[in-house]
Amino acid sequence: MTHWHESTDIKIWFREMLSPLHLLMVIILAITAVSEWQMSWCEHLVGAYLASSNDKRPEIGTVWETEDRTTTAQSYLKTITDSRKEATRYAREASSFIQLASGILPGQWTHISKTHFKQLYLALPEPTAAELIPTLELVWLFNGTGMDKIFCEGKSHGLDIYFLTPENRVVRQISLSRATVANLDQDNSIFKGTLEDIHNFAGTIYSANQFFKATLGLPSETLSELIIRPERLLPDRGKISRVGIWPDQRSAYVQMGFEVHGSRGDMVIFTKGRNWAVKQLVQRLTGREQ
């Protein structure tokens, strides 16, 4: 068979070249090309297809990275503010310094009102309150300085409380160490062990007999100040065998520990006494009474 373009006859050549099949193909191609040029249907088609699969595609590229950074930044800031809000909530709801200290974690901080601080302070037993900050100094802070706000900051060692002026100047700072907090905690007034385990009592441990004998010989006004919270000793936890006196003279109160042997093992129950009253007792115990 001879192809149309192999023909030597011009008529055949033209006839074959302009055959319906060839013309149809050319027309289709021409329509396709012109319509695409004019109407851009190919672009629309591709665009439509891509739009249909948009939700399945990843959030990649410069602008998404920028948004990621914004999201990261805002979530980081939210963590900080949430943490602060949480500390503020705990602080607002705290009805004791123990709750305040346990509610504000290391790295967290918040402000508490002066009224709230006063409430917490007045809720403390007198000796404990005076150890935290002497009452007279607190009166001076509240009335004699430009103190305007109280800032509490959680630290690894406990809680720091700052008394601030409106310009954020620290007028006074107090630290509630974990040990102090533990002392504030009523449940922590009991130590599992013996007096020897608490080195502060070394050299000042007396037998219960010796202690009570000396005690009962004291005048009644001294007795009432000797053990500030005697109710701690009343529950039947066992027999008091020895008493230790913490010889720290810096505060107005002296720590005392009563060693008890009971069914639940050895324990030391802490209580406090007025410095001057305990001093009289110690003089009797050591035989230095004039």
Partner: protein
Amino acid sequence: MKIMARLAKWISTFFYMGLTAGGCAMLLLFFFIFYGAEQLPRLPHPLARIIETPKTQIYAATGEKLITLGKKEPVPLSRISPHFINAILAVEDHRFMEHSGLSKLRTLKALYITLVQPGRIQGASTITQQLAKNLFFSFKQTYLRKFKELLVALQIEHTFSKAEILHAYVNQIAFGAGAQGVERAARVFFGKPAADLTLGEAALLAGLPQSPSRYNPYRHYDRALKRREVVIHRMVAMGYLTRKKADQVLQEKPTLAARHADARTGSYFLDTLISQLIQEYGKDVLFHGGIRVTTTLNTAMQRAARTTVKKGMDKLDITLGTNKNDKSIPQVALVAIDTGSGAVKALMGGRNYYGSEFNRAISSKRRVGSGFMPFIYYAAMKQQNVHGGTVMSNQRIATPIKAGQILFSENPTGAPHGNMILKQALTLSVDTITEQLIAKIGVKSVMDIARICGISSPLESVDYRDMTAAQVSPREMAGAYATFASGGVHHDPFFIWRVEDALGHVIYEHLVQGKKVLDAATAFQVVDMMQSVVDNGTAKKVRQQGFSRPAAGKTGTDPDGYDAWFTGFTPGLSTSVWIGYDIPQKINAPNNTTAVHMAISMWTAFMSEALKDDPARPFSIPDNISFKTVGPFTGCPPGTGNTSTVTIPLKPGQALCGDTP
């Protein structure tokens, strides 16, 4: 006929080959589209949403906004000058309203040029393609990236209206100088909103995106104008402008807004602050977190610092005959710190930020010379119970130093030889007496005092000369002297008062907590001596220049003449000024004191301006201080007719003239 047949055969072969190749290409294209689509980025809805970045705002302590960082806030097209819209369409993509993301004519032309003229690249990107590239792709030129960019452009065109595309484009496009988006560009380059751009300004801006650094009008104004000419001709060709109007606009030369040479902050203080914020919170929070930072900067004092430094250094240049084109020119640093809190109120880290960003106030550690004497005197007074009235001898002395060597010292300041009281010795900066003090108390005592006052730079020394050669920064000096000013209470210098998030929640606030590090009475005795330096001693130029407030300070010069210092304070503000070269070299002044005098002059000019609205107040005197009058060389109460007297503050138990207290 044979020729016809051969031609027909060729046509036929090409036709079918073309058809087959076209078919294959189509198949390949569809393959890429279907399988490559999964790797394309997702488009956000609405398109401009992700352009928004909350702004971080940094304020001065005095309330003025210092800088806005990371702000990207799209403005609607209705708030953009139509001149700009016309100009950007004319120059970037005049068929924007007609095409579907791809300009076939331009693409074919670009393809032809790329194939026929290797090495020459013809851009053909439409605005939509540019938008796709800017939003999602890196600037690395690859064929695959171009193809992906095209596909995304097609999707953008299919999904969004032309107005939305144009809105996104003009709001994210980069104009250079840190300006992204037309609103920011209009504010950076012309100090006005995009809505108010004139035709000339709009045309200039529209020419920048093609090459923001090449056409940066701050650096290459003429180039930018040439580019604007192209834009205007395009606008004429597109029918946006008449020839007459174009000629008129071409005569105009837009005035650029001042102080925006580029994206830099233009401030040593802000650079330091930004570094601190990045260290504390990270770049994401700073540039994308929308935080609000209140700094310690006092804008009036900062203005005073800038003016003082400029005037002072211009004057010094004349004195030294400095050629400003030289590679190495004298530099300066000035730091002012609030003595009661440690707040950094003003800071200049060099003579011109745009000339050199190196922050000498913070990062440069330079030899402080006799500026270290107050620490030595304090240590001696505390340890030896000596005081300002104690008599010592100004004489050539031998001091044992390292490796069994002996150092013989002469006093270079020209102070009279013989006996004199310590107050006189500090006033006249007598090195030999300071050396004797060091020999008595030991270097470690001095280092300990410097440390507790806030000097944190390394101070490994064994003898007096090394001691005064301690290398510290102006910030350290201002902070350490502030400790004396505040009666021995040290506050760490700081830059940030408060940081809040976008909703106003406080995430950080600075608490001012001083640390009592020096004995107040002894610190006052040192301050009294330093007042004498300003009143009668090496810094008396302060008084000669009319500064009458209570002030104290100490000059300092490097023994080799490389560094000149003056650090001084009033009860409320401590300021340190340093002058020298970045690469240490002798300040080639007519005499040794020229540079120090310039440092004193700058200090005086700055303090006069910075404190002009504050009432003068004296240094507070501790209760246990009493005053006695003595002769400057005898240390004894002056005899009848002796006019030269010095007042000495004494602590309880301190005696004069060899008496027992």
